[in-house]
Symmetry: C2
Subunit: 328 residues, 2 copies
Amino acid sequence: MPRRVSIKDIAERAGVSTGTVSNVLNHPEAVADATRQAILAIMADLNFVANASARQLRVGASQTVGVVVMDISNPFYTELARGIEDRLAQDGLLMMLCSSDENEKREASFLRQFSEQGVLGVLVTPFGEEAAPEKYADLGHPTVLLDADSPTLPSVSVDHVDGARQAVKHLLDQGHARISFVNGPLELRPCRERAEGVRLAIADHGLDPDTVLTTVNVGALTAEFGKGAASQLLADDACTAIFCANDLLAMGVSRELRLRGLAAPGDVAVVGYDDIAFLSELMLPLTSVRQPMHDLGWTAVDMLLRPQDHPKHVSFAPTLVVRESSVR
Amino acid sequence: MPRRVSIKDIAERAGVSTGTVSNVLNHPEAVADATRQAILAIMADLNFVANASARQLRVGASQTVGVVVMDISNPFYTELARGIEDRLAQDGLLMMLCSSDENEKREASFLRQFSEQGVLGVLVTPFGEEAAPEKYADLGHPTVLLDADSPTLPSVSVDHVDGARQAVKHLLDQGHARISFVNGPLELRPCRERAEGVRLAIADHGLDPDTVLTTVNVGALTAEFGKGAASQLLADDACTAIFCANDLLAMGVSRELRLRGLAAPGDVAVVGYDDIAFLSELMLPLTSVRQPMHDLGWTAVDMLLRPQDHPKHVSFAPTLVVRESSVR
DNA sequence: TCCTCCAATTATGACGTTTCAATAGGTATC
DNA sequence: GATACCTATTGAAACGTCATAATTGGAGGA
């Protein structure tokens, strides 16, 4: 493989110095028209490709941003990643994307690699709640936390309290006298906050959460656990409305309903959380709380690139998307 | 912001030359134990982070691989990306991920950026069928095509003919006398191949495709088009089995069934293609053809890194996953 | 004691780019 | 015709790393 064509080869062929060639690339206005045209022609001819490493070594700044989400194969993060990509593309930047798998070691290793690469900045979805997101503080480059809140670092998140509140208000407005809530592990902040939103909605309605609400806490946000929770809840005939802390739980709940010969929304109304794209196409479209993940990603990058334009923390409002599963 | 700590700072502090420090990093066996320990201690102390740009400039090889898929927010590519990431992680490599949005310009711009970055290699899902994937040939670094086949370039793909064949065989085995097939645009090679597989399966069964098969070609692989196709097909009472060229079409079909008061599999059996993760959790789990996307991604990277271990083209076998939607 | 050999270390230059001070011409000013 | 000024270009240094060849300082053999 022949050596890549460098700025030096171009300069030689054009009979100018490398400085001039470099100027064509970086300060085109500083070089005479004729010279510039000639150099550009030679570049095209020789198929010149600038060497980003050399540039970066010289100027210090890179063209890439590192992103660590928990799992890129999770559609929830996928839309977030797309928002990030879209904002980066505006500035001609590239995204290095990794999955932490909620593994400290793995995460640390990616963050170190990012540092070595000299990334422009880093976006991270922290996990292992309360485990001091401050560990991201001295990475040596700008950092924005995704789907989190921190007293010290810039961050973006969605208002989980409000989302849950909207969902439960919707159910109460439909006339349901009792609310069942399938929640995930309370170690997860989103779950704690959603629980709070549920209680608030009930109180807003002038009711007493302790009598109106039945909560089942499950071990993980999966359909399997949703199914189990539903079978527990449905033992009680008074259960007519189930709010789930995420869509997967809601799918599990729906399956259990079907197995028991019950149907949403006729027998039991079901509301999910996350609004995973496909679920709106279901045979029975699922009512769910939509989180603006694309905007979240977009904004996180914007905070990285233009910190002065934003407050330290940006919170997005979720919106309830009402579909057939909860409306009789 | 103080300058990053360099190998030179370490050398100075340790009272050795930069060469020795470099050796600690790259040829630890060549440096005396005591010296190595001392240098490592100083590195930890000074929080040294190697400069990948400088290394890359010097040695020429980078630690990153560029990936262009059509749209990272599509779960289909997402699992592929995860396979890619997993294989890269084994070698400590990073992934730069972009969406082409089936836009030539956008794609070209990403590919050029990859070249400038000096990536180790590129993985790309070509689009705009037959538009000479040879345009990827002289990118200047190893390239593997994803979900494609090329006479010249290494590539990985799934056998679409076989997938469709399995799906339709399954329906025929269930005793369906007629098969309806909702296919996408024939400009897409996967759609053409799936059509071929459908006919083969019917012929395998000793039947005549021209009398047994009803095909509807729609404009795009979306639920909306699936719905339309279904309403067309269901006008014929003899329609008892619908095979769809992808899962989204199948979801649209299912919705239309439900609107008409019909149910799968009792009235009409439905089979999809792609086996999108969530659809197995549906209230009525969907029978679908699963494509091993994770393996596809994994293997594509392996072909990039160890070409000698693979043939030029690797084809994966899809597997039919039978669920409730197609079995009475 | 001298010589050889080996392990450990060093000095140096190069990778491709950008920046910045310096210079060469040319044009306008007086 | 000398001076000042501007524009276009140059030359050289520097960014941090790594490989190569050269050097050092012992240890072991004769």
